[in-house]
Structure formats: C-alpha cells, structure tokens
C-alpha cells in the first residue's frame, strides 16, 4: 500500500490532490425502511481480518503523511446505504460477497425478517455502511 501511495505521488502534479474514499468497518447498522419509517434491527459483526485491513490502510496513509508525501486537508465520514427488496436478498449478498469480513448473526437476521414481515409493503432491507472520505494534498 505504501508503495502504491508513492506511485500516486509520483504521477500527481505539484499540489495535486489525492481522494481516499473507502468503507470502514464499524458494525454497520441493519435497517428495515419503508417510505413511512426506518427501523434499526441490528448490527453486523465485523471479522478481525476486515478490521485489520482498515488498520493497515490507515497506517499506510499515516506513513505517507509522516514521509511528507501528502498533507491531510479534510476528512469526514458519511453513510452509504445498500438496499435490497427483501432480507433474504441482503443475507444472500452478505454470505456471498462480504463473507470474508462481516456476518449477520441469528439475532439480527430474525429481527430484520420479523420487522420486514410486519412492515409496509414497500419496505426494504438495508445496510448502512460507514464511509471515509479524505482529501490529501501532495507534499513538497
């Protein structure tokens, strides 16, 4: 990762900008949302390997900063929502696409299924991810 940041620095003009945009594990909230209301039904569990990836990425940026390659100008977090028609589709996605770094436990699974079954007809199952966005300026 640090070598990649060195390469990015090389191809940027003086005072060029690097945008670091990525999800960060934080036991993302599971929701059932309809036009009328949104209910949080639980949180996913983070696996250690995913948390370690986030830590490694943060360390790489910190190293690039301490080397003087980039200067942090601004950083914020925002929500990025994945939304499925049904809880089953959400469970399938998590099990097939994200099974390396998060899981939906039994309690959250049942709570989400129940809330969805009892909710309005337009209700969807959602996952509210935590996103990091940071702007870095190329150092001298």
């Amino acid at each position: 990762m640090v070598h990649a940041l060195s390469e990015i620095r090389r191809v940027l003009i003086p005072s060029g900008i690097l945008i670091d945009l990525r999800p960060m594990l934080d036991r993302w909230e599971v929701e059932v949302a309809s036009a009328r209301e949104t209910n949080v039904t639980g949180r996913v569990n983070d696996f250690e390997i995913g948390v370690a990836d986030d830590t490694a990425a943060n360390r790489s940026m910190a190293e690039a900063e301490s080397n003087g390659w980039f200067i942090r100008e601004r950083e914020e977090f925002f929500s990025y929502v994945y939304s499925w028609d049904t809880p089953h589709e959400m469970e399938e996605w998590i099990n097939e696409e994200w099974n390396d770094f998060i899981e939906l436990d039994e309690e959250a699974t049942h709570a989400t299924r129940s809330a969805w079954a009892l909710s309005d007809g337009d209700a969807r199952a959602q996952l509210r991810m935590k996103m990091l966005i940071a702007r870095w300026r190329k150092g001298e």
Partner: protein
Amino acid sequence: MTLQKDIEGNEKKYLHEFADFKGKRVLEIGCGEGRLTWQYANASSLTIGLDSDHDALRVASIDSPHDRKHKIHFACAEAEYLPFSKETFDIAVLAWSL
C-alpha cells in the same frame, strides 16, 4: 435481486465537495465497472480508470457513453506500478481500494 446502492446519494455529494473535477486530469484507482467514474468524469478533461479486474473493466468500457470515449479510458494496471510519466494528473481517486 434488486440491489440499490447509495440510495441517499451521499457518495457523489461528498466526492464533489472534496474535489473540483472541472477541467482536471483524473486518475481513478480501483474503478471496477466505473460506478464511481460516472459520478465525476463528465466534468473532467481526462479520466483514466485503472483496475486489475479485466471483467469489470470490460463492463466499464461497454458502459462508457459514446460521446465521452475520447476523454474516458480504462486500463488494467496495479497501483504499485502506474504506467504514467510523473506529474500527469491533477487528481487521484482511491476508490474503495486502499
């Protein structure tokens, strides 16, 4: 399956708050199928999207609007070895890839 991503539109909003892409030369690392690319590439003067996934890049190229093909390009490369001269880009975007 009907999956909708970023239903609140926050990603595009924050991306444009954090960088002014107008007339800029942009390198996007980890562009995948170009989902994020289309959020800003219209404003840039040149956009190069890189990814190591050939299949995703194929989708990105197919989805590329015909009238923008002259200024949006996709290529297979790793961030560790960027096939460009120094000081080529105004903005680099690490798209879900650090």
